[in-house]
């Protein structure tokens, strides 16, 4: 199964997003990771890498990110992670993208590519 990692500058925000996404995609493998190495607002490359490794069961991993350093640290974490299969970042709003990704990840034919695509479709969601 394709695993999902949600990265936010706040660990609590990441956990909350995972909580929302898990309601729609209950069987998906989703990891929440956030905060800088000291627990403040920010991101930690090492923590993201560990989450990617934890989310991977051989089927690949899709990473959802919020701002600036989350994107860059996720890129480096993917390069550094000991993941055999694909890992990719979804260019998507983090919460809506995580919901879409969780739903797609539970389908039998899901691939890293299809989960990234599903997450990216969340860019089209309009609020008004």
């Amino acid at each position: 199964m394709v695993g999902i990692v949600v990265v936010s500058h706040s660990e609590r925000a990441a956990e909350g997003i995972v909580e929302v996404a898990a309601e729609m995609g209950g069987d998906a493998r989703i990891e929440a990771v956030g905060s800088d190495p000291d627990g403040g607002i920010g991101t930690s490359m090492d923590a993201i890498r560990e989450s990617i490794e934890a989310a991977d069961d051989g089927g690949g991993v899709v990473v959802l990110v919020d701002l600036g350093s989350a994107v860059m640290n996720a890129e480096i974490a993917i390069e550094e992670a000991a993941v055999e299969a694909d890992a990719g970042i979804a260019d998507a709003p983090v919460l809506e993208g995580a919901v879409n990704a969780a739903v797609e990840a539970t389908s039998e034919s899901a691939t890293v590519e299809s989960v990234v695509e599903a997450a990216a479709e969340a860019r089209e969601y309009r609020k008004l």
């Binding site: 403040g40 090492d46 860059m72 640290n73 890129e75 480096i76």
Partner: protein, 248 residues
């Protein structure tokens, strides 16, 4: 070219100089960042280079391995975007130093570092980022070494001057990248923190180079770094070492 011990000594001196300078300027960088960012740049850079120095000192490898350790430490210890930008780019560029430290390998290192920063951060000159100091510094260094055939210390001095003008250039700009871009026009009128820390680092590399290099011999060595004659060996050694940290 350089004997490994001198190379290591100069590298560690450069990293220590950068760490000391960033510790001394911590409040200043944080003040700059509190004006247009999230007020953590000084703390992050200080913490990052403190970790980098500690880890570099306990690394046994060659120049490339020491520099890669600096990058790894920055990525792990810096919470903000500076971690992946500085650290990730140093990690990638360190491969250019595998053949040892010489004028041409340091130019290659600087160029690889710049390319990775721009690629990772997706920033061009004028977006009010570290790129505004880095592009003129790297281009000036390359030209000074490859076209003007200047001694490495002089090339680094010109690079520092170029970086300083680059920092001044960020003041009237509206930020297009990073946290400051959320402020829109309110980012105008402030010096960019990342461009400023880039300048501080280049200045400390210059200070290290001045400490370790003979400027006159440096020029002649620059043209034949891999086949030094015996008399020039010392100067060459020191020469390559100190310049090697360009881009950190």
């Amino acid at each position: 070219m350089a004997d490994a011990e001198t190379e290591r000594e100069a590298l560690l001196a450069a990293i220590a100089n950068v760490a000391d300078r960033l510790a001394a300027e911590r409040e200043y960088l944080t003040d700059l960042d509190s004006a247009i960012g999230d007020a953590d740049h000084g703390t992050n850079m200080d913490r990052g280079f403190e970790a980098a120095l500690e880890q570099a000192e306990s690394t046994d490898g060659d120049a490339a391995a020491i520099v890669k350790t600096v990058g790894t430490a920055l990525v792990s210890a810096v919470g903000g975007a500076s971690g992946p930008l500085y650290g990730g780019s140093i990690m990638s560029a360190s491969a250019e130093l595998e053949e040892g430290i010489a004028p041409e390998t340091t130019v290659a290192f600087a160029e690889a570092y710049l390319e990775k920063v721009q690629d990772r951060g997706d920033a061009q000159v004028g977006a009010k980022t570290m790129v505004d100091a880095l592009v003129p510094a790297v281009h000036t260094y390359k030209r000074s070494i490859e076209v003007d055939d200047l001694p490495p210390v002089e090339a680094l001095r010109k690079a520092a001057d170029a970086a300083e003008r680059g920092v001044a250039f960020t003041v009237p700009l509206r930020a297009k990248k990073g946290r400051a871009s959320y402020l829109g026009w309110r980012s105008v009128g402030h010096r960019d923190p990342g461009a400023t820390s880039t300048l501080l680092i280049v200045e400390e590399l210059l200070a290290t180079a001045e400490e370790f290099l003979d400027e006159v011999d440096g020029g002649s060595d620059a043209t034949a770094p891999t086949e030094p004659d015996i008399g020039a060996d010392d100067a060459e050694t020191e020469n390559g070492d100190a310049v090697g940290e360009e881009g950190e």
